[in-house]
Symmetry: C2
Subunit: 355 residues, 2 copies
């Protein structure tokens, strides 16, 4: 049983803290540990250092090795560049089956927040038992509000209970719905958020790649033949640019025959924006999440990140103030998603120093 | 005819830009000239460098000399420390009457904004003619809204027209009124804002000091006897701490018998807060007043001052963002007056480095 932590993303919604060279998962967003460290902390009691694998971009590895020195260097699987989650997981599966071809892999993320770590480990253990039987298992999150920002999983017939967790056959995956649909989904009680975390046997997922994504599978096999040979890097560098970009959800999960979902409440949050952090991080008596020095008059429910200078505020309610030293971001929390638009403007203006 | 620019204040409402060592009047708030330089620019065509006197605190003189090198060094009158406008003006009068005992002095401010400089000079010229006849003259500002932040001057009988300006006897001075009273004042058409700018003969104002503030007058005479002697500094240092704090409005103007007001529209503004600056300074097509680099999405009517780092904003409306390098201020414009409360908190906390 392996953990595969996917840690290659470079989110822009936590800009200006997240940057090309320092993506979200490598940041300490206020807990004292980086998101990658937290992803590690959550699963190391279950998998041990040897059982944790990381798939990421080569440029991030030195920082990750520094942040979590105990994961063996050989457990880092390097994607030449991101091609979506399907190729990423396929590539990782090639390496993992060399360790144990009959193993179960838990595909996990490094940029999500999970409040209930103990419960998370328990559901992973249960999911692994379900996966042993040949199912592709996805963790479904009990939706806390009708979000239009997540994909949804509709449960079908019950498959039984494992270690106290109910397991269902997946009826249908739905991409991010509109507001009405999301509301309907939540009211029906049949839907979970798609967490992007999957548990399956390595041999089963590779068979599904062969069946549902034959082009990708052929490319993976070409790489596979070179692994461990002097040609490994050369083949990877040649094949990878030809790989089509695809998500595992669209490429496999939506089409696979035997998918199971385990709906859980693990205090999951995708940390998709500064606004989310306001909800997650510990707040003071005014509901403010403060990093750095702050003097405030009538300031509430605001996130202030400023390790370098004093922030003084009057009459703020639900504001985001982030000062990274070279950039200062100010925006109301309900507009936090639009930080992406700022990053886009800077990209267009060629202001690479801020990206 | 002399200009006396009072420049001793240390306003806290433009904090964090205004500091103890760099008060408002010594700052360039966005026009390219400091407020003191602007005060000089406005009046030098009328008075010449030799005719402009400055009363201020000794610590500010080096910076003022640097900002306006053409005012003779001898024209700086040093208050040991601030005791309100009455002692300040009294002290200055002692020095001015040595230059011309029959002269007219125009008491002006260095921390107010005056849009219509030419009209301002014209009204000063007219006011000087009225003052020649022995009146104490105050410039009244036509109120543009029922402000509760200014004192008001009620006009009485008309004294005639001078150079196209109507002159009235002052019926009454009123300190900052409540909102209802302010509204009533404005509707009546009989009231002007008290600009704090006065024009009078030196001999007349000294006579009024003698009559209405005899204690202060005696102290001034003690200082006067020492001026030009080796004891000047010693006497000033001994007498000044005993001087009672008082404003010229309360000490003289409200009690004087023969006060005239000339109501004018000179585009006057007291630059009392960051919010005022938003009204005064040139704005871009989104109504934003920007100093420094800014990238914004849907940001309007906001003041952004950040010479040191990029400011990125989403969805701001009427916000003040001021970054001085060591401090960052964020507050909605309608709360800008409360910046004082922040400064007070820092004082109480002994954070002198920010004051």
């Amino acid at each position: 049983m392996f953990a595969l932590i996917m840690a290659g993303g470079s989110g822009t919604r936590l800009w200006p803290r997240s940057r090309k060279t320092q993506p979200k998962q490598l940041l300490d967003l206020g807990s004292g540990r980086t998101m990658f460290q937290e992803a590690y902390d959550r699963v190391v009691p279950l998998f041990g250092d040897e059982g944790i694998f990381v798939v990421t971009s080569g440029e991030y590895v030195p920082m990750m090795r520094q942040q979590v020195p105990s994961i063996p260097a050989d457990n880092y699987i390097i994607e030449p560049f991101g091609r979506g989650t399907a190729p990423c997981i396929g590539l990782a599966a090639l390496y993992l089956r060399r360790v144990d071809p009959e193993g179960v892999m838990c595909v996990l993320t490094a940029d999500h927040y999970i409040e209930k770590a103990e419960r998370f480990r328990r559901v992973l253990r249960a999911a692994a038992r379900v996966a042993e039987e040949g199912h592709l298992v996805t963790l479904g999150i009990n939706p806390s509000f009708p979000s239009t920002g997540f994909g949804y999983v509709c449960r079908g017939t019950a498959l039984g209970t494992v270690d106290g967790f109910e397991v269902f056959r997946v009826e249908k995956f739905t991409e991010k719905p509109d507001a009405d649909t999301a509301r309907r989904f939540c009211e029906s009680g049949m839907y979970s958020w798609n967490s992007g975390m999957f548990i399956w046997r390595i041999s089963v997922i590779l068979r599904e790649f062969e069946r549902l994504m034959p082009n990708l599978y052929a490319q993976l096999m070409e790489i596979d033949a070179a692994i461990g040979t002097p040609q490994e890097q050369a083949v990877l560098s040649r094949v990878w640019p030809q790989v089509e970009k695809e998500t595992i959800d669209y490429g496999i999960m939506e089409k696979a025959a035997d998918v199971a979902v385990i709906p859980v409440d693990i205090g999951w949050n995708d940390v998709g924006s500064w606004s989310t952090l306001l909800d997650i991080l510990p707040a003071d008596e005014n509901g403010n999440v403060i990093t750095g020095q702050h003097v405030g008059v009538d300031t509430h429910k605001s996130l202030i990140y400023s390790p370098h200078r004093l922030v003084a505020t009057v009459g703020l309610e639900g504001m985001i103030v982030v000062d990274t030293g070279d950039v200062l971001l100010v925006c109301p929390r309900e507009r936090a998603q639009e930080v992406r638009a700022l990053v886009k403007r800077l990209q267009e203006a060629g202001r690479d120093e801020y990206l």
